[in-house]
Amino acid sequence: MERPQLVRNINLPVFQFLNMTEKNVSTTEYSRWLKKTLIVLALAFVVIISYIAIVDPFFHYHGPLSQISYALDNERYQNDGITRHFDYDTIITGTSLTENFLPSECDELYGGKTIKVALQGATFKEVNDGLVRAFRYNPDIRTVIRCLDMKNFQQDWDYISYDGLPTYLYDDNLLNDTGYVLNKSVVIATNEQVRRTLEGKPGDTMDTYMFWGEDFDYGPKKVKSTYVRPDQEEPRGPITEEEKEAILKNVRENITSLPAAHPETTFYYYLSPDSICWWDVEANRAGKLEYYFELQELVIEEILKTPNIKLFSYSSRFDVIEDLGHYKDLSHYDAGISHRILKWMKEDRGRLTQDNYKNYIEEIREFYTDYDYDYLYT
């Protein structure tokens, strides 16, 4: 085939590079080069894609292979795969406040097979989205254990705190899996899993997955080093109708709708036991003590309407709240408290019901209103 002659105006300065010397290379050689290049390129992609799909560090295509020591260290990338392919009937989920739960302990107490899919810094919407997907992958979930962080009730119901979530892992669309199988960070993660295996290191377990219980110091000094006590604000007024609607929308969309759709599953929900310093900073000094009592009453009332939710609160376990030896900052409690919460919920301790929740509200109102917060700083 004759090579087309390109129309060039070499007099234009912009074409100064186009006076390339024509080498005597035949069209067939270019054809051959092109074919070889495309074949090698295709092969390179096939090898990389197969490597990632076979090891599958984020469990998007299959569960863990027994020959590989998997590192569990990336919640937003691995949780979806865990809920897709692991064998389980019990889920522990929530924010970093749930990362210290030991699924093995949960298995013993609740008699099931537990996975832990916590999401650091997640909003109610993000946690609920993960649970909705889990129920789609596994309709046999018997028990859900979830922490409800107090501060999250005030967020917009559709708020997600992070951009750039790997949504290509969260669906069944094969086309967008390019984000997974053609991703250098995933290649690196896969290499790490393989290296770990070759070095003979054991894989992570559900108990060790993002467990941070032993990584930090605890105690009054540590807690107080994480914040500056704010000035005293004027007390804010009661929750407005508009705020009430927004809070209830958040609860209905992200907390009660899933249990309502799965009446056969038991949902253990607990309100986060924030430290006494949290109550000082976020409620007392912010002029929001009454606001939080009102907020708790509102959400408790709403959540209790769904019969398969067992709701707990440990804000009235003043022995825990006041003992800063269990906290590393305003809200993060240690693994010992996680252990006790798991036990208490199984024993129905701290459970809120239609009959007792008004008393509970009165109890915390009295305690946190009368508390001598200044004493904490003496």
């Binding site: 390339m20 290379v25 090698v40 937003r76 810094g121 690196i188 290499n191």
Partner: protein
Amino acid sequence: MDRAARLGLFLMSIWFYGYLNPSYIPVILVSIGVNFLISKNFDSPKKSQTETKDQRGTSKNRILLALGLGFNLGLLFYFKYYDFFISNINTVFKTDFNLLHIALPLGISFFTFQQVSFCIDSYRGEIGEYSLLDYCVFVAFFPQLVAGPIVLHEEILPQLKEESNHRLNPKNISIGLHAFALGLAKKVIIADTLGVPVTLAFGGVEVLTSSDVLLTTLCYCLQLYFDFSGYCDMAYGIAMMFNIEIPANFNSPYKADSIPEFWKRWHITLTRFLRKYVYFPLGGNRRGPIRTYINIFIVFLLSGIWHGANWTFILWGVMHGFAQMIGRLIDKPWKKVPKPIRWAITFSFVAVAFLIFRADSVAQAYIMLRKVVKLENFSVTPLLLTGLMLPEVKHLFDLFGMASVLDSLTWLCPALFLLVVMGITLFTKNTREKEFKPDMAHLLSTVVLIVWSVLSLSGISTFLYFNF
């Protein structure tokens, strides 16, 4: 068959254009339609009464030209400059006119200028017979649609019509594929990596040290270079696969040792456009030295405005206008200065001007430049260096048990990266200059660069939980 091929190419180009935001497809279609109608209605010079250069236009032609220019510049003004204009009016006159807040249609500055050139050339009677379809493909040809080069009709239309170009050509596809691989790597691996510290630094200029600002400026100069050069290579490569050679837009600009030289090498087709359609019609250098300098200044001011609706771009244009004038004035003594000094002064000027070009506002650029002048803190913020660390390089060190080297010498990889990248801008040939041979070395480099770049398109986001 040829018609179907051209129609196919046009429709694919429009699909490409609308891929990210389909709502601007009507804008480009209307722009193409109106320009074609106007261009078709010019009386050819033979028909016109007079054929002398100054009186070439009949009054009909002059009205049509005014319409064409008015339409194109009006479209550009509406989408690109309206909000900037109104917000300045609001500031100066303390008024409260509403802003439009519309997103700029992709590539509007490029396809508008390309059509302005076609319109003026039609008025001058320099355009042959082209069908609507030819014109559509010429304007919308996807490799150059969104970021140039600003091509002239005589460069592209004859190639589009050439029948022998309508067949697959393995040589051109090979050259194109290799150029595309080089361009993709420049953009994805180099420019995007350099962009990490740049984005971080411009996101919080108050906390930067003097060294941070210098590092950021260097990174931005190189980011812009590789972004633009990479785009040009990819455009050239894809067009080549279609047997179309588009003009060079970029010729190792950082090798320049004077500002006039820099402008012969940077964004060549924009400078050419402004020279042909603004500088020459204003009289070029034929009306005495003062008019010449004024004309040069106008061209660079327009170049600044064209780059974006912000005072930073205008200031950048003004700076280059002055530098161009001074460069012309001191041409002879300048050549006596040793070359390394000429180069260093030129590059420093270009870098400072680009810092202003990149800044969100003139005030932000001022804060940064003041930090450099004060020379108060020479430490480099580690986070900026971390951004220059390619994860694959770190991984390789790790695999070979040398992670500790990187931990103790955090500057090592970023410094090497910057050195290599700067070296590429100063000591290597342009993609078009390199001789392409269908051999194993070109095969491997093409494959490695494409695979590496594709793998670099997505990464794993780090979710930093600051409260934890």
